[in-house]
Symmetry: D2
Subunit: 312 residues, 4 copies
């Protein structure tokens, strides 16, 4: 199995590291326009091969290094320029995708494509149009990372193992994302009824509000403190890659082209979705409260508007 | 960390194998009255050490091999004799525990004890009385295995990854056990509302009935076909051991002494419980339907009667 | 990737368990003429799926379950009858292979075949003739198990991690096998010059003799104590399968058809060999002392004689 | 078990990530004077907890976060200033250790200390003097990373799995380091006699020279390309931590205070050493050629001179 990661920046290189340590793919290729950077990342990864499961690492500034990939993760990014608005950044990134994607599809026409570059939902939608790939074969990492953040925070407050916390964040990856409290559970107990264990209080509306706030804002805090986020997104990406390469039929909140999901269509945003060797063929109709559904609908509307601004 | 397993039969030896492969403990000790058997199992395990995480394996027919254990799993069994009733088997097993446990508590007074020998719920209750250990420090593996069986069957029918199926079996490990359908979920969707994916039908009442039936009866089918069950219980046991040794606060359906769990007290049976370095300090009040709660109450009544027959 | 294991006895079923726990293959199929047994093993393995990496387990008494395999491990055995000589056992096993292999090659013509059934070297040679497969695509597990046993014993006496002990056993899997002391090393030190650490003595000629003796005889002790050996061979087999499926170019002492290995040809026995997706394309000329080479030559002669007795 | 990492820069944070993914310790604490940075790294690591083995991550700019550690890895660094000579850098780093170490020893008096900050050999020697710790309880990561680099390059050229290449680099971590060719082996064959497999040539003197050159210079190339090295050193550090916490008695080329190692004393440099829960109690007398020994002696002399310049 071959995984290629386009963009060997903080996110791409760390995702390669995580994927290698987890044995997610037999060959991992890195592609970046910065030849010195990609060579350095590949060397550093190769030097750790002794301590990892059997794998091969390669890299280049030439797209041919991605030839024959089973999965391609796109993390290549246009840096936000000082004073640049988010919408301008989206424009730059879409421009970047117009340059990068056609060459990739040429050398890896059968790959499943996972978009990570931000703003991920709009970029995913645009990339579907740019490539003309069947919609199940290109999707965004969406709120897998955000959901993982929320689960950690919930587990930490509740005092239970994170593996027992089941909760999704849906919608846009970003400020308008929606924690699906109404379907969240801890050890079989609806999160909204969680009684509290180990002498801790139940999770109040205020607790949930604080957690929501922290999830939305933690990326900013991390970027302020260290310049980028890379560790958790590296793992989240590797996790998605495994769902594809191992044909897991895993349910993950990735961002795919919706088609009548609670009436929402023609927009990419994250809802619980079945991920397997084909990509995303189906979404899962997790029950939602009125508020949650309302949130999802406004996300959809605003994302559609952004897309329209770029002529999609 | 030191794990001791008492009884190096089909279950005990396989659990040692699973625990070693998963790196669950640094030292694994096996104890069995059959000296030739325990020596053979230890040799066979040691010969595989090259292919496993760092560990030490030892074994003996002398209880001192368990000295200083952090966790002790008891799988020592009295074989069911032809024509012997289940209640007589229970009597024999309790007799066995009277012989085995005091010596163990002598050499490992601070260990957490996990009972696996059947009938596990009654044996756990009796063992608490025999040892006088604080109730959180001795519990039974309960329905962790049964829940794992049910999750596999549900995942298989639904066509999704088993990691996305969350469902517990509660009650007695055995014929009267209760699948907690009302709180089960798949990818955030209540199992009872699961719409079906990949062209498969929802899980009908009949599907659930068949799965319940298969869970209850699969042990019999396996024993008929191969003489014992060992692979899944080996993993289930190793999983419980990890929850203890890694202080996970994991929620697992183990069998512990209930104290006003939905009004049920003074009986050991399985409900979702918090497992950590202290053992089981708390249970989790997973919501139950009337039927489920009724089932739990009858389990409790019949288990209490069995215990009483043996003077507890 | 698909691994099939033919023979769901002590060895075959445990190897499936080890391969599943290690994530060695995405699909593991078991085939055995004993339909009840194979069904029971498959159920027991499936019930543990929740605790293992993503995989699918299937089984049948019909050879079609092995269709399309990438690797097939043969552990199907003819039990040694009371009073039966080893040579008669060999005859029975070869008879079994004549029945089993053609059907396998029909449904999995491109698989790599790994023979485990004893006497493994003769069975491997006969199986090459029976199937007419290219010699690199069928080989025996050979002395991978024996080498692992020796490494454990050496590490245990020397007081160092087993990962730092590098030593092979070559020749016949069985009584005439040859520990390659002259090329063995511990942490870069030739084993014959090992000075001893942690207050322990160097490894004397007597130590080596005892270890050799223990390796050769431990299978007998284990079989006497528990009726079969399964844990270490299960791991050794899974290790070989990984070398093939992950195209590792790993050097393992497997039993393949020699062609002028130190002048030895036309016999299957174990020497350090390169194992990858093609099977065994090459052996490695590990240096040997006169004694070691002499031992290898007598192994070859006696194995050739056995083969001749069966008309090969 | 608790691992603390002092310095949450490129190396320290990545080592925490690697250690967490490998399950090396139950608690990982990060300490850095840059409070915003350490908080950001901790958040990013925590957000990935869902995809890792059970663990707890904490961090602070206060040394008390390291209290009660079992192992402390020191990666805190003084950045090389423009125009600053290596010897001046050493001075600055030693100054840093004088500030940092006493507080650590106060809160974690029983920890094993692993130094990573460069120039690692001199820093290790100075740190022993500064702390007065018993010499086995403080050592440097030494040439574990360099050896891993060399093994990758050798495996890559030879066309075999890296697990079959056994070779150490000894001496100073840096320009004067010495590849121990004379004791290196591949699959039981002395590297100097390796015949070549898969149609590749043996490893000529020129090949070895090139590999040596590449090992010594790759850090420079990586730093030029990406600003730091972090992935391989993160794994190498995690590997050393495991050797300590799991009491492995593993043989690793770490930098410890030598006492008559081939006549060399009173200097810290890397030779194959036994690493376990006590740290480094013993070195291993791997045989060396005249040239190799000569190289080791000059390393010792020059390192001793540097130490003397700082008054040790
Ligand atoms: N979706 C998520 O959950 C998530 C999380 C974190 C980061 N991100 C996004 O990931 C992206 C990458 O972040 P980063 O921190 O790694 O940024 P970065 O600047 O460190 O790396 C981006 C890399 O892309 C390379 N690149 C630019 N143009 C390229 C091209 N045409 N072809 C190949 N490579 C090219 C650059 O050389 C650089 O190495 C950003 O858009 C960021 O917002 C998304
Ligand atoms: N709770 C569960 O989910 C579950 C699942 C499977 C099996 N089991 C139970 O586990 C038990 C063991 O099953 P098995 O298949 O391994 O049986 P087994 O007969 O193969 O092994 C039992 C072992 O206990 C040993 N033993 C007997 N008396 C002993 C003593 N006083 N001290 C030490 N060892 C002693 C025997 O020598 C034997 O090796 C049975 O009671 C079985 O019903 C429980
Ligand atoms: N090479 C080694 O290092 C090594 C190590 C251990 C065991 N072994 C050998 O492995 C073999 C198996 O040992 P075991 O302990 O598992 O024996 P076992 O008797 O437990 O299992 C053998 C299985 O083969 C099945 N079988 C018989 N004929 C078959 C056929 N025609 N098709 C499919 N299945 C068939 C039987 O039903 C049985 O389940 C033996 O020959 C043993 O000597 C080799
Ligand atoms: N031995 C090896 O094999 C090896 C390999 C790679 C790097 N290194 C060395 O590791 C060190 C760290 O490298 P890096 O790339 O992570 O550097 P870095 O600059 O990214 O990180 C150093 C960190 O140390 C922190 N720090 C400074 N003073 C401190 C103090 N008093 N207490 C706590 N933290 C303090 C800084 O705030 C910074 O975050 C360097 O000396 C480097 O040369 C060694």
């Amino acid at each position: 199995s071959k995984l290629s990661i386009v963009g060997a920046g903080a996110v791409g290189a760390t995702m390669a590291y995580a994927a290698l340590m987890r044995g997610a793919a037999r060959t991992v290729a890195l592609m970046d326009i910065n030849a010195a950077k990609v060579e350095a990342e590949v060397l550093d990864l190769q030097h750790g091969i002794q301590f990892m499961p059997q794998a091969r690492v390669e890299g280049s500034d030439d797209v041919s290094v991605c030839a024959g990939s089973d999965v391609i993760v796109v993390t290549a990014g246009a840096k936000q320029k000082p004073g640049q608005s988010r919408i301008d950044l989206a424009g730059d990134t879409i421009g970047l995708m117009r340059k990068v994607l056609p060459g990739l599809v040429d050398v890896a026409p059968d790959a499943v494509y996972v978009m990570v570059t931000n703003p991920v939902d709009v970029v995913t939608y645009a990339s579907l149009k740019i490539t003309g790939l069947p919609s199940h074969r290109l999707f965004g990492s969406g709120t897998v990372l955000d959901s993982s953040r929320m689960r950690f925070l919930l587990a930490d407050r509740a005092g239970v193992a994170v593996q027992n916390v089941h909760a999704y964040i849906a919608g846009e990856h970003g400020d308008t994302e929606i924690p699906l409290w109404s379907s969240a559970t801890i050890g079989g107990v609806p999160l909204l009824d969680w009684p509290g264990v180990r002498g801790r209080a139940p999770l109040s509306a205020q607790d949930r509000e604080e957690i929501h706030h922290e999830v939305v804002n933690s990326a900013y805090r991390i970027i302020a403190g260290k310049g980028a986020t890379n560790y958790a997104i590296g793992l989240a990406g590797a996790r998605i890659v495994e769902a594809v390469l191992d044909d897991q039929h895993a349910i993950l909140p990735v961002s795919s082209l919706l088609d009548d999901y609670y009436g929402i269509s023609d927009v990419c945003l994250s809802v619980p979705s079945l991920v397997d060797r084909e990509g995303v063929r189906e979404t899962v109709s997790t029950p939602m409260s009125e508020d949650e559904l309302g949130g999802l609908r406004s996300s959809a509307t605003s994302l559609r508007e952004v897309a329209r601004q770029f002529g999609f």
